[in-house]
Structure formats: structure tokens, C-alpha cells
């Protein structure tokens, strides 16, 4: 055996792209200016290969002779440590043993196919840093070059002789002496074992086993902890809550059921025979009717804690995980598009001011974006919609929401695991990665999380999941299985536990295929290794199922059987290591009882500055990070694969205007289309979470309506990301938001079909013995999925033709609380935007009517930055001008101050408003659609490419060129271009 190292450098004259990127990031983060470095990528190859063989492998497989040059030698050889630049300090970065290394796996497989005898392969990155001292090297390693949670850093030459691939496991059944523990002992065990159970829960488990006359094994305790975790059972929100606010008290036995689920129930009853919901809140994703043959499914998940520690891997496995939800819905839906929403601290945060244990926000953002990109693109699923929000409070706890929409034949929408079916696992192998993800994600993050929970961080392998997708859909259509579910948080424990809940199951843990030796039976059971699905397969079809998988190189293995005894029996080589009753597991958890209070903050009315620089404010809002163009992110995602793209994320003359929503045709042979949009505004939550939630729903729905969706066919999802809900006021703000969700959904007839919550999103750290905690702002994401009869009726937001008329739909109020106007100026106070639900419903139907009749040439909603931003975006996207009379804009409750009124008209963020462009010959028909809705003609589209907004009463004459407005809007996050000097 020889351990070879193959170093691959850019050839002379070729760019060193990795070096350019690192030097740029080092400068941006203030680590080093004009850092000089060279980089190589490489491989460690452990096998019976002589020099000629490794050189041949390098030339035929690993490197590209046209653009690259190689240095090959045995690990530790002098040649490998000769710097290509003068005085370069050498740093190696390698994935830690056991961390998913997809490129190495593929390379090893390919080498085998080429007839080479190779035992193991690992990739590496190599950096030569010039002119920096040791402390800078250390800081670069720590801050930029590597992530300690998954990677190993070696400074100087490598000294190893082989690649570790695991060691044999000696079976030992572990029994936990639970009965002898007092309360303190129980809590110590809960913490040290990373079970994260509460005292009543630990006591309940203790009592259960005392009743059975024995102590639990480790695997039993782990199984209970996972099943009862917040992540898997949503015990807080589905628990008993005593809620109190300024209107009085309300008691919930199951808060989610009595608010969000109840809304859907009400809507379904009201719809009667026209009910278009198929399966809601029961399967891995919500299912609704699409056309005569197909249903569509939608699910959005979060992957916050893993992304905080390892942004690339966290986002990577976040999108990988949510794609498995539609795959595991019904008998398996085909994914048709992704959506991604992120919350970060501002990317220009100062490195020196970061708390310990926190990654720089720019690094987090770049890592998250590339994680989503690499997984979504490889899966062949277009990423069509998203948003990014910035706030300092996301510093230690960024939010990563990933969503997936799928399409499912109507007769494959339900499933039922059957007694005597085999429990079959397919896809990726099981490894030590992702241990304790479910319990970890339910805990608070601290600066120590990285060392404590490193195992919870993973890297995905998209191609394994794509292969699973390919065989799953064929097996579904050939009717080879009875049920399927994904293997997500909690691994086999959760997947088999849930599937077998009503039946019972016996599992043979030694049969699970492993990535390497050495896993204990408990690790096999709770590992959250990615890209695995679990099936219930009848014996009659097992062979066909197996052969189908094998024909495409997918591993399928029987790991147990569903047996009708109502127990979960776990065996390792015929020894029983666990035996739990399904009833205790699923219904034995003591109810969580929580207090929730909400005290409205004393919101003062809006204090308008004496003088407002209207033009300057418009530019500032356009350049604020939440509003600024996200083109740098969007273009890294494939948003057109599968060929269904109708309205892209970027639209207009130069394909760079911000679309309200995406429109996608999920069937190539049909004109029927889906709209995907979202709504979220954490800043309103600081004023009132009720109005934040109502506004988020209004925004998600109006974005879909703006591109043409039928408002009577819009399904919505909720994703709550909140702080520590053991605190009554934190939980109180969540309950208040949930009540808004219920009232809005019923009022708009937009059923919730699925949702998910992520609690305890707080980051704490200690400096000089003093504990500081940063809680995220209460953050509710609403995702909407609408439908259009005919894709050709879709409308985009870019202005189309000079001479057309501009209409404003809706009324403007003093709703400046949490507005972007207050964020970019020193103004304060104001009321958060509210929703008049009945008016919103009428308005959405009226706009849809107008769009369906073909009378609307462009339509854009009003959101962050209000009317001024909407007009600017429509103008520069269409390369046409607007000439608008601001005095026409209906303003409720004017106080007679003309300048203040103008400010409100321009920048207030009142809900349920749109601007529409209408051709003169369509005016009559357009106007008939708005009988009971406020409709105002505010101006015209003009040839001259500038935004001109006038108010005679306020002596306002705002005039800005499209060119400048677009430039300030594009500059902040345009990370591919050299810095542009923008005032």
C-alpha cells in the first residue's frame, strides 16, 4: 500500500480562481490586505499503485492537462512541500475522517471501474500563503480557509501513512441505570447524553421503565428523546398554552390545532364539494389539487442551527432534506421547483466585533448560497423564488428556509404501510454523521456548540439523492411498494417509528449498509446520514424493487419488517437491544404546559423629520440590503431546468428587474401553471406580531396575485422561527402571530397546508464571565403556492409601453412602523401595517379579474419602501419613465401637513396595494373590475427613462434617472463586479 498525494495547480497562464476569491474575502473581512497566495486542489490516494499507475489515473481522471499541472508523490515527500511562490507558508485542509466527501467517493468508484486497486481516497485543498505571520495564518485558517466542525487543518507537510476507514465494532449492550437517579441525576444525563429532555419527560421515562421492571438501554432512551424532541413532535406549539394579552385570556389544548389547522378545517367546510385540499398537515408535505390528473405538494423547512456552524453543509443538507419531503409524500411526488429564504446579519459587520464562536456573516451568506446552489442545481430542480433579510440579531443564529414543490398523480397521493411488509432502506449509506441532529436543533446555540455538536453538521451528496429520486418515481409507477417516507431528523428511529406507529416493527440493525466499520447499534439507529428513504415493500414485489434499484446503482436493503404487535423491537445480530411500545413512544410524552403573555408595546405615532430628502431617501431604500438586487445570488441557481419556467425571478428589458413571484409550468404538455411567492417582514414584529403575520400573508398572496394567480386557489405555508419559547413573552408573541394566521387564512380563503416551527433561536456567549444572549427577531415566513389556468395570462412587473396609464390600487395609511423609511432615516415611531381582511379579499379578486381579462400590461405590489420603490423598480425594469401626480394618491387620516403627507404617500408600507399599467384602449374594461375597491389613476408611462413624482401641495418634484436608481439598487450585493463607487 502506498499513500499518494496528487496536487493539482492551475497551469501557467491560467487564473487561480480560488486564490482570487480568498484574497478578496480576506480583504473584505479585514483579515489581510492584498493577500498573495497560491492554491491547489488535490487527492490522497491510498492503494496498491505504483508511480506509473497513479500518474495514469491523474492524467486520465483527476486532472485536466489543458488548464492544470500536477505534482505527484508519496505523502510527506519533499517535492510536495516546495512552495510555488517565494516563502509561502503551507496549509492543508482536509475533510475530517467520516465527513461526506462526494468527490472522493466518486473518484474511488471511477478508479475501481478503471481497474485500479484503491483502498481509500480523500480530497484536499492546499494553500501557500505569502508574506503573512503565524498569527495571521492561524486567523486565516480559522476565519476563512477551513471550518473546524468538518475539516482538519494541517500547517506544514502532511505526515500520515494511510487513510483511516473505521475500525471494527465490539458489540456491547448498554443499559442505563435510570431507576436509581434522582432529579439532578436525570437532568445531568439529559444534558451530557445530548438528549435535551425536560425533567418531567425524564421522570416519565423513568416511571415507565420502573413499571416494566427494568432499566432502559441506551438505544431506547435515544429513541424516546428523538421522538419527543421539539424538532419531531412540535410539543410546545402543539401543547397546552395559557395565553393572555390585552384582550383577555385564552386557553389552548393544542395551539397549532386550534389556530392554523382550524383555519384550514373551516375553509374546507365552507368550500364543501369545491374543497381542493387533498391531504393537509398529515404527510411530509401538504397536498392540493392541481388539474384533472395531478395534485401538487409543497413543504418548507428550516435548517438554522447546522447552517450557523457550517453554512455550506447546513444549507446543502437543508435543501437536500426538504426535497425528500415531497419525495416522501403520498407515494412520492416529483420535485418541480425550490424556494429559499435566508436571514443574515449584515455582510459588512466588523470581524473584530463578532462574539466568540460566530462565523462572519459574509462567510455565512456565501456558504449558504453555495450550499443551496450545489445541491439544488445537481438535483435538476429549479430554484425559482426566494428572499434575503438582514438584521443584526441574526448574527449568531442565521435562518435558512428551504422549500420544495412537487407534482403527484392523483391516484398516488395516499399511502399505507402494511403489516408483514419489509422495512427497506435505500440510498446513501449510514455513517456517524448527523448524530443528535433532532435533539441538537431543538436546543439553544452557544459559543461552545461547535465542539459539542460537531457531529450534527453534515455535507450532502446530491447525486445519491438524484439517483434515489430516479428509481423512486419508477417504483411508484410500477406499484412496487405500499408506503415511503424520508429519513430526516432522527434517522431510522424517526422514519421507522413513524411508519410503524399503527402497526409495530422489528428492525435488524446489523443489516443497514454502513459507510465504514465501527458504528454501534445505537449510532446506526439514530444517525441522520443524508440521502436515505425508507419504504414499506410487500414480499411479492421486493425482488422487482431491488432489481430496479440495482439497475441504476442504488443500494436497497431489507432492514426489518412491519409486524402487527404494536411494539418497536430493535435487534443487533439476534440480540434484542430495544423493545418499546409504540403507544408509549408516540403518546406517552407528558404534555407541555406553557404560559404565554403578550403586552403590546407602547407604539408612538410616526414622527416625521422636519425636512425629508425624498430623492435621497428613495436611493437609500433602494440600496438597503433587504431591497437591493439579489441578482448575484439568483444567477447562481439554475432557475430554468425542467423547462417549465414562465416568469423568472428577474424580468424586464435587461432581465434584471425584481419579479413579484415565479410562475412555473410543472407539466411540459400543459399550459396550467403554478405561482410561488413569499412574504416576511420581521421588522413589523417589533411593533406587533399580529400585524407582522397578517402582513406576511398579505404580501405572499399579493405577490402571487400580481403575476396572475387565482386568489381562490392559493395555498399557504407557515414557518415560525422564534426565540426561547419557555419565556412567556416570547411564546406570547408567537401565539399572537398564530391567531393572526388563523383570521387571515379564513378571511382570504387561503388554507394553510403544511408548516414547521423552529424554536429557541438564540445565541449566547460569555465574555469575562458575563453571559450575553442575542435572540433573533420573531420571524414568520409565509410561502404561497398559487395556480393559473393558462401560463400565457401571466403578467410581469416591468413597464411595457409609453403612453400607458398607471393606476394605484388600495389606500395608503400612516403605517411607517418598521418601515424601510424608518430604517434608513432617523425617523421613529409609527403604526405597523395592518390588513383590512375583507378589503384584501375583494382587492385580490378584482386584480385577478383585471389580469384574466388581459387588461393589465404590468403589475407590481407595494412592499418595502412603499410606492416610490415600486414605481422605481417598474421604471428601470422596463427602461421607461413614469410621470406621477402624488397628490392623487388616496391617503387616510391626513393631518394637514403637506410634507408629511407626501412622505407617507411615497414611503408608507400599507398592505394590499398594487400599481398596474393599463393601455388606453383597455381602461374602460379595467376599471369595471374595481367596483368596491379603491382605484386611482396616478400618472402615465413615458419614454424618458426617469422617475418623476410631483406633488403640488407639498412642492415636491422628485426626478431621478433610471440609470442611477438601478445602479444604487444593484451595487450593494453585486459581489462579482469590482467595487463601484456609489454615493
Amino acid at each position: 500500500m502506498t499513500l499518494w498525494e496528487v496536487d493539482i495547480y492551475p497551469a501557467t497562464g491560467q487564473p487561480d480562481l480560488a486564490a482570487e476569491r480568498i484574497a478578496g474575502d480576506a480583504a473584505d473581512m479585514g483579515l489581510a490586505n492584498e493577500l498573495q497566495l497560491r492554491t491547489a486542489r488535490g487527492y490522497l490516494v491510498d492503494g496498491s499503485l505504483d508511480r506509473a499507475q497513479i500518474e495514469q489515473l491523474s492524467q486520465r481522471l483527476l486532472s485536466d492537462a489543458v488548464v492544470e499541472t500536477t505534482i505527484i508523490d508519496e505523502v510527506g515527500h519533499r517535492r510536495l512541500a516546495e512552495s510555488p511562490i517565494a516563502g509561502g507558508r503551507l496549509v492543508y485542509v482536509l475533510p475530517k475522517a467520516g465527513v461526506m466527501d462526494p468527490v472522493a467517493l466518486t473518484a474511488r468508484q471511477a478508479m475501481g471501474d478503471m481497474g485500479s486497486s484503491v483502498r481509500e481516497v480523500r480530497t484536499l485543498r492546499k494553500y501557500w500563503l505569502q508574506g503573512v505571520d503565524q498569527s495571521t495564518v492561524d486567523e486565516l485558517c480559522d476565519r476563512l480557509l477551513a471550518n473546524d466542525s468538518i475539516e482538519q487543518i494541517v500547517q506544514g507537510p502532511l505526515e500520515m501513512t494511510e487513510l483511516q476507514v473505521g475500525s471494527p465494532y465490539d458489540f456491547e449492550k448498554i443499559v442505563i441505570p435510570l431507576s436509581s437517579l434522582d432529579d439532578e441525576g436525570l437532568m445531568e444525563l439529559s444534558r451530557s447524553g445530548q438528549l435535551y429532555m425536560t425533567l418531567p419527560e425524564m421522570q416519565q421515562v423513568q416511571g415507565h421503565f420502573v413499571e416494566m421492571g427494568r432499566d432502559p438501554t441506551d438505544i431506547e432512551l435515544e429513541t424516546v428523546a428523538q421522538t419527543w424532541s421539539e424538532h419531531c413532535s412540535h410539543k410546545t406549539l402543539a401543547g397546552r398554552i395559557a395565553y393572555r394579552d390585552e384582550r383577555g385570556e385564552r386557553h389552548f389544548d393544542n395551539m397549532l390545532k386550534e389556530t392554523i389547522f382550524a383555519a384550514t378545517e373551516t375553509i374546507r367546510q365552507q368550500l364543501g364539494d369545491d374543497d381542493w385540499c387533498v391531504s393537509v398537515f398529515v404527510d411530509n408535505a401538504g397536498v392540493v389539487r392541481f388539474d384533472d390528473d395531478f395534485n401538487v405538494v409543497f413543504k418548507v423547512e428550516t435548517h438554522n442551527h447546522p447552517s450557523a456552524l457550517e453554512p455550506y453543509g447546513g444549507a446543502n443538507t437543508g435543501i437536500g432534506g426538504v426535497i425528500r419531503d415531497p419525495l416522501g409524500t403520498g407515494m412520492g411526488a416529483k420535485p418541480v421547483c425550490n424556494t429559499d429564504v435566508f436571514c443574515f446579519a449584515p455582510p459588512d459587520s466588523k470581524l473584530s466585533e463578532l462574539p466568540p464562536g460566530v462565523l462572519h456573516p459574509k462567510r455565512v451568506m456565501k456558504g449558504v448560497v453555495s450550499g443551496v446552489r450545489d445541491y439544488g442545481n445537481r438535483m435538476g430542480i429549479p430554484t425559482v423564488n426566494g428572499a434575503i433579510y438582514f438584521d443584526d440579531r441574526y448574527l449568531g443564529n442565521p435562518l435558512v428556509y428551504c422549500g420544495n414543490v412537487g407534482i403527484l398523480p392523483q391516484n398516488k397521493s395516499l399511502k399505507e404501510p402494511k403489516a408483514d411488509d419489509w422495512v427497506v432502506a435505500i440510498g446513501g449509506r449510514t455513517g456517524r454523521d448527523g448524530i443528535h441532529g433532532a435533539t441538537f436543533s431543538s436546543a439553544e446555540l452557544t459559543s461552545e456548540s461547535e465542539s459539542l455538536s460537531g457531529g450534527a453538521v453534515q455535507i450532502g451528496n446530491a447525486i445519491t439523492e438524484k439517483m434515489v429520486l430516479d428509481v423512486l418515481l419508477q417504483a411508484r409507477d410500477q406499484e412496487l411498494f405500499s408506503a415511503v417516507t424520508d429519513c430526516g431528523a432522527g434517522g431510522f428511529s424517526s422514519a421507522v417509528g413513524e411508519m410503524g406507529e399503527k402497526i409495530g416493527a422489528e428492525v435488524w440493525l446489523e443489516k443497514a449498509p454502513l459507510k465504514y466499520d465501527g458504528l454501534s447499534y445505537t449510532e446506526i439507529w439514530i444517525s441522520e446520514a443524508q440521502e436515505r428513504m425508507v419504504f414499506s415493500v410487500p414480499d411479492e414485489t421486493w425482488q422487482a424493487f431491488h432489481d430496479l434499484c440495482a439497475s441504476e446503482g442504488v443500494e436497497a436493503t431489507i432492514i426489518g419488517r412491519f409486524e402487527p404487535h404494536g411494539r418497536l423491537v430493535l435487534k443487533y445480530h439476534d440480540q434484542v437491544v430495544g423493545d418499546l411500545s409504540m403507544e408509549f413512544l408516540h403518546d406517552g410524552r407528558p404534555p407541555v404546559v406553557r404560559e404565554a403573555t403578550y403586552t403590546p408595546p407602547t407604539n408612538s405615532s410616526f414622527q416625521c423629520p422636519e425636512t425629508v430628502d425624498w430623492s435621497g431617501t428613495l436611493r437609500k431604500i433602494l440600496a438597503s440590503l433587504n431591497v437591493a438586487s439579489k441578482e448575484w445570488v439568483i444567477r447562481q441557481y439554475d432557475h430554468e431546468v425542467q423547462g417549465g419556467s414562465v416568469v423568472k425571478p428577474l424580468v424586464g428589458v435587461a432581465n434584471d428587474g425584481p419579479s413579484d413571484a415565479a410562475v412555473v409550468r410543472p407539466r411540459l404538455d400543459s399550459a396550467r401553471a403554478l405561482t410561488i411567492s413569499c412574504g416576511m417582514n420581521p421588522h413589523y414584529g417589533d411593533y406587533d406580531p399580529y400585524h407582522m403575520a397578517a402582513s406576511a400573508i398579505d404580501e405572499a398572496v399579493r405577490n402571487s396575485v400580481a403575476v396572475g394567480a387565482d386568489p381562490s386557489r392559493i395555498a399557504i405555508l407557515d414557518n415560525f422561527c422564534w426565540g426561547y419559547t419557555d419565556r412567556p413573552d416570547t411564546l406570547g408573541s408567537l401565539v399572537r402571530a398564530a391567531i393572526a394566521c388563523q383570521e387571515m387564512a379564513v378571511g382570504l380563503q387561503t388554507p394553510f397546508i403544511s408548516g414547521k416551527d423552529s424554536l429557541n433561536n438564540e445565541f449566547s456567549y460569555e465574555v469575562d464571565g458575563k453571559k450575553t444572549t442575542i435572540a433573533i427577531p420573531a420571524t414568520l415566513l409565509i410561502s404561497a403556492m398559487g395556480q393559473l389556468d393558462d401560463a400565457a395570462h401571466a403578467v410581469t412587473m416591468d413597464l411595457k409601453e409609453a403612453g400607458h396609464l398607471l393606476y394605484l390600487i388600495g389606500t395608503t395609511y400612516e403605517e411607517m412602523g418598521g418601515s424601510h423609511f424608518t430604517l434608513v432615516t432617523d425617523a421613529s415611531g409609527g403604526h405597523p401595517p395592518t390588513v383590512d381582511i375583507a378589503n384584501a379579499r375583494r382587492t385580490f379578486h378584482a386584480v385577478h379579474d383585471a389580469i384574466s381579462r388581459g387588461t393589465v400590461r404590468a403589475c407590481h405590489d407595494l412592499s418595502e419602501g412603499g410606492l416610490a420603490v415600486t414605481l422605481a423598480e417598474m421604471a428601470f425594469a422596463g427602461d421607461l419613465g413614469v410621470d406621477v401626480d402624488l397628490d392623487q394618491v388616496p391617503l387616510s387620516a391626513s393631518d394637514g401637513d403637506a410634507a408629511r403627507d407626501a412622505t407617507l404617500r411615497l414611503f408608507s408600507e400599507s398592505n394590499t396595494r398594487f400599481v398596474c399599467e393599463v393601455a388606453e384602449d383597455q381602461v374602460a374594461e379595467f376599471e369595471t373590475c374595481f367596483q368596491d375597491v379603491t382605484l386611482t389613476r396616478i400618472g402615465t408611462v413615458v419614454d424618458s427613462p426617469q422617475v418623476r413624482i410631483r406633488s403640488e401641495i407639498a412642492s415636491l418634484d422628485l426626478e431621478e434617472s433610471n440609470e442611477l436608481l438601478k445602479k444604487v439598487w444593484q451595487a450593494p450585493l453585486d459581489w462579482d463586479s469590482p467595487k463601484k463607487g456609489i454615493a
Partner: protein
């Protein structure tokens, strides 16, 4: 008789269905088959007139884009492919298919074992999805007959065309093999500007072999076979024609016209 099209998918291929749809829209009869079936039965290609390797990330693009699929073809299917071409048939590689055709040496024969050209990382260093203007040079390429210009999307990370020897570019150019190139919206050279999305030498977007019957291109013609796929269809008339469809029609008409 509709010409039969064989679309090969490997693990990670993901444009197979829309490519099949495009060929069928153009009048072909297209089957999608897993590479393993072809490796099991190399002769099955005999029944087809057109072979297509569609876009995606075969084998994850791990190691390098298209590399592993290229090696499989080179190692196990070289004779089949040679027969295919000798029998006056057509081969198309789109995006990842172009990368595989090029790296297997099918498209531009290798000098001994040294590749003559490659497709490597975009100058931006990452994946890019955007639409590009394209112009056709010469009439060598069967797939581009009667097409002067096109507007199509690209979606790739490794699409920068680089020749091993600068001089070879002249040879290919003179032979009409640098058949498709990025250009400005009025058809002019990119001149180092951003109309060339990845930094390809001589703005190369697509290349054909000496016969004109093997063609690889980075842009995705299968993503523009319907007017609502155009990024600005809401601004343009209902007579907007779908540029990508012409590529598939040319392939089908080679056998039917």
C-alpha cells in the same frame, strides 16, 4: 417514419425529459435510457439515428464536469460511437453532454492521449444561469443549418472553452468547426465584454466535428421551445418564435427532408 432518438442519462443527468420533449416536438421519437442499459447492451444504439447526451451533472461533476461519463464512453462504447458516425448518423451533446463529448475525444480527436481542448471553470468561478446571444459561423454543422443567430439560456459552472494550442483554434475555425459563438445583441464580437458569459476563447459556445454531424454546445436549446420560456415574452408579440426548437428540427429533418 420518425427518426429515433436515443437520449442517454447517467446518475445526475437532469435535462433528459425536456430534451425528449423538444425532440418529440420537432418530430422525432425519443427514448431516454440509463447509461447502464447501454453499457449492458452496446448494440442497442444501432436502432437509433440520433444520439443525445443531455444536460445535468453526470456523476455529480465530481472530479470534473462530464469527466466520468466521458471515460465510460471512451473505455466501453468507443466502437459503438464510431459506427454511429460512420453510418451517417447524428450526435448532440448539450451542456454536460458537450463536456462529456469533448472530454471523451469524440468531438475533437485527441493527440495521442493529450486532450486538444477542454471546458473549464467560468471566469466568475461559479455556476451562472442567464440568457446569451449566439451567432452561427459557416454551414458545417448539421444542427445549425439555416440558423444565423439564436437567443438561449446557459446554466453551467464549467463552460469556458480553452484549446491546448492557440493555433488549433485557427484550424477549427477555418474548417467551420467553431460553429456557435457568444455575441452581442447586434451580432458583434464580445470583445472581452460580459456578453461572453464564461471567458471562452474566441467566444466559443458550441463546436462540431469535421463531419458537422457531431455537435456540442453549452447553451440549452431545449429550454426555449415554447414562447413563454423567453425571459421577456410578456414584452414581445405572440409571434415570438422559439429559437431552440430549430436545432432539434434540423436534426430530425436530416433524416426526413
Amino acid at each position: 417514419m420518425k427518426p429515433r432518438v436515443l437520449i442517454i442519462r447517467a446518475p445526475g443527468t437532469n435535462c433528459d425529459l425536456e430534451t425528449q420533449y423538444a425532440f418529440e416536438l420537432a418530430g422525432g421519437a425519443a427514448d431516454v435510457l440509463h447509461i447502464n442499459r447501454w453499457l449492458d447492451h452496446p448494440a442497442l444504439a444501432d436502432r437509433y439515428q440520433i444520439l443525445c447526451i443531455p444536460g445535468g451533472f453526470s456523476y455529480g461533476d465530481d472530479v470534473a464536469a462530464g469527466r466520468i461519463l466521458a471515460n465510460q464512453i471512451q473505455q466501453f462504447l468507443a466502437d459503438e460511437v464510431a459506427d454511429f458516425i460512420a453510418n451517417d448518423k447524428l450526435i448532440l451533446g448539450v451542456c454536460n453532454g458537450f463536456q462529456a463529448l469533448l472530454k471523451s475525444g469524440i468531438l475533437l480527436p485527441q493527440e495521442k492521449t493529450r486532450p486538444v481542448a477542454t471546458l473549464t471553470w467560468n471566469d466568475a468561478g461559479h455556476f451562472i444561469d442567464r440568457w446569451v446571444h449566439l451567432k452561427v459561423s459557416g454551414d458545417r454543422c448539421v444542427f445549425l443549418r439555416n440558423i444565423e443567430s439564436m437567443y438561449l439560456p446557459i446554466a453551467h459552472a464549467e463552460g469556458k472553452f480553452v484549446a491546448d494550442q492557440e493555433e488549433t483554434l485557427d484550424t477549427w475555425s477555418n474548417a467551420g468547426q467553431l460553429a456557435l459563438s457568444y455575441c452581442t445583441d447586434d451580432g458583434s464580437l464580445c470583445n472581452g465584454g460580459s456578453d461572453n458569459p464564461n471567458g471562452s476563447q474566441r467566444d466559443v459556445a458550441g463546436v462540431c466535428d469535421a463531419t458537422g454531424r457531431i455537435f456540442g454546445l453549452m447553451p440549452h436549446p431545449e429550454r426555449f421551445v415554447h414562447r413563454t420560456q423567453h425571459p421577456r415574452w410578456t414584452r414581445l408579440g405572440s409571434d415570438l418564435s422559439a429559437d431552440g426548437l430549430a436545432v432539434f428540427r434540423n436534426a430530425v429533418e436530416y433524416f426526413t427532408a
